[in-house]
């Protein structure tokens, strides 16, 4: 499989890798939203954490990804794109934009879908923690398309 230069670059130099602490601590923190999507047996799991400022902007984002090069690149790119955005702006990011930016072939489109889902899930988690949604889904984590 030939990867685009951008995918290779994200793979070799991933942006914003990491987390804001151990999973239990992060769960308690109200300023952080977490999105975990995918499953190990499917070969990809993405974890996106967003740190939201008081004025509702994503001031920092961290990702971890178990997956192919395209999945790593999609999640790495997602963190770059959402930093500095409002929650609504970030929620507006579509997987097709990721496909275009990284020149993903059709078999890798699901990687971009996963990245979009991880953004949405992280935002939902933040809103749920902060009582910003009226109806909260039973399992906001790992809601995927």
């Amino acid at each position: 499989m030939a990867y685009s230069d951008k995918v290779v670059d994200h793979y070799q130099n991933p942006r914003n890798v990491g987390s804001f602490g151990a999973s239990k601590e992060v769960k308690e923190r109200k300023d952080i939203g977490v999105g975990i999507v995918g499953a190990p047996e499917c070969g990809d799991v993405m974890q996106l954490q967003i740190k939201v400022s008081d004025d509702g902007r994503i001031e920092d984002a961290k990702f971890k990804c178990f997956g192919c090069g395209s999945a790593i690149a999609s999640s790495s790119l997602a963190t770059e794109w959402i930093k500095g955005k409002s929650l609504d702006e970030a929620a507006g990011i579509r997987n097709t934009q990721i496909v275009e930016e990284l020149s993903l072939p059709p078999v890798k489109i699901h990687c971009s879908v996963l990245a979009e889902d991880s953004i949405r899930t992280a935002i939902e988690d933040y809103r749920k923690k902060n009582g910003l949604v009226e109806e909260v889904k039973a399992s906001a984590e790992a809601t995927t398309g």
Partner: protein, 417 residues
């Protein structure tokens, strides 16, 4: 690989179980048969034909000598896939007989983690009315004589068990299975593609009736293979798949691939002469590869039986990293991976699955197979780049974090997309 560009020099070849470099001594032996001794080995009326026939005869002796057979017991084919097809379909159709009072055609025993070139002919035979039992190995990947014994029935006509597995290198109890089949008068075939030329083989001692192998896995050319067909005690007969000029005792018609066969013979001769030293050297290298990687990182697992394995092949899983991204990080090594992520739903290797290797570990496995030209420096470089790639990917892996926090990822309810 943490930083920097993917090196563009020729990668280190560690995929000798897929195919091998043709030995230059083999090529040298073949060359005159393209341009000087180019006769048809079936032409009886002139020296061109006689020369070609001599070349084929020599190769038949070289091949027979490697496996302790009589030259007359060697049938030339296009490769191990054809040999397997001829052996399995040819024997099943020749010896077809159902249990008393039924319309069945007979029972065949094989195993779930055989090569597709064995499984697919068996599936075809099922459609033709044969009954097939697919044995399941334990976690070590071995098929034992006991397992085979437990599957035999009154109407069993054929057993086909590979000598060494192509993905994990595990060595089955072939001589014991052969003995068992001989005692029960059941035809025994073994796909020995990964075995012959690497390990000592004696079709008499090991009770083999039919044995497939291929030239290109033992430093010979591609497109040529052999099938050993026992001629006495018992004499095995096969229904041909390819009819025509009656070549190869009527079992495989078609003008002989003289150049390929000459190369195959030379490759057999070289393997026979160099097998012991080569096996010992490669085993040392394989052990270094495995032990260094396992010593340097946690959750590294060797797939297959610990001891009963080919000396030159290893299949290693690296927990919490995904296979395709691992391959991407080791572009300087040419090897095989346990899975390919080409769609939303991955299909990990059916061989690893049959051993009960979890999907996540099956996805992160590499098959590294050494060969005649593998060097210690190459092994050292491979260790370095595999370890770097795994470490790089683990810094990104959410699963590795969970592992380090003491959480068993199999207890988490994942929602697949």
């Amino acid at each position: 690989m943490a930083k920097g560009s993917i090196p563009d020099q020729s990668p280190i070849y560690m995929d000798n179980a897929a195919t091998t470099r043709c030995d230059p001594r083999v090529v040298e032996a073949m060359l005159p048969y393209f341009t000087e001794m180019y006769g048809n080995a079936s032409s009886r009326n002139h020296s061109f034909g006689w020369q070609a026939e001599d070349g084929v005869d020599t190769a038949r002796e070289q091949a027979a000598s490697l496996i302790g057979a009589n030259p007359k017991e060697i049938i030339w084919t296009s490769g191990a896939t054809e040999s397997n097809n001829l052996a399995i379909k040819g024997a099943a159709r020749m010896y077809a007989r159902g249990p008393e009072g039924t319309t069945g055609r007979g029972h065949i025993v094989t195993a779930v983690h055989e090569h597709k070139a064995v499984l697919d002919p068996c599936k075809r035979l099922q459609r033709e009315g044969f009954d097939v039992t697919y044995l399941e190995p334990g976690a070590d990947g071995l098929i034992t004589a006991e397992m085979v014994s437990g599957a035999l029935r009154d109407d069993t006509i054929l057993v086909s068990i590979m000598w060494a597995n192509n993905e994990i290198g595990t060595i089955n109890e072939v001589p014991e299975i052969g003995k068992l089949c001989h005692d029960r008068e059941i035809v025994f075939h073994t796909d020995a593609t990964q075995w012959v030329g690497k390990m000592p083989t004696d079709v008499e001692r090991d009770h083999i009736d039919l044995m497939s192998w291929s030239g290109h896995k033992m430093y010979g050319p591609k497109g040529v293979g052999a099938l050993y067909v026992r001629r006495r005690r018992p004499r095995i007969r096969l229904e041909a798949l390819v009819d025509g000029g009656g070549h190869e005792r009527g079992m495989r018609s078609g003008t002989l691939n003289v150049t390929g066969i000459v190369g195959f013979g030379k490759a057999c001769e070289l393997c026979q002469a160099e097998m012991d030293a080569e096996g010992e050297r490669l085993l040392k290298l394989r052990r270094k590869l495995e032990q260094t990687l396992m010593g340097r990182m946690d959750v590294v697992a060797i797939n297959g039986h610990e001891e009963k394995r080919l000396p030159h092949l290893t299949n290693i899983s690296f927990g919490f990293v995904e296979g395709e991204s691992l391959m991407m990080g080791i572009k300087n090594i040419a090897c095989s991976s346990g899975s390919a992520c080409t769609s939303a739903s991955l299909e990990p290797s059916y061989v690893l699955k049959s051993l009960g290797v979890g999907d996540d570990l099956a996805h992160s496995s590499l098959r590294l197979s050494l060969g005649r030209w593998s060097t210690e420096a190459e092994v050292d470089e491979a260790i370095e780049s595999i370890a770097k790639a795994v470490e790089h990917l683990r810094t990104m892996s959410p699963l590795y974090d969970l592992h380090n926090e003491g959480i068993d990822i199999s207890t988490i309810e994942w929602q697949a997309h």
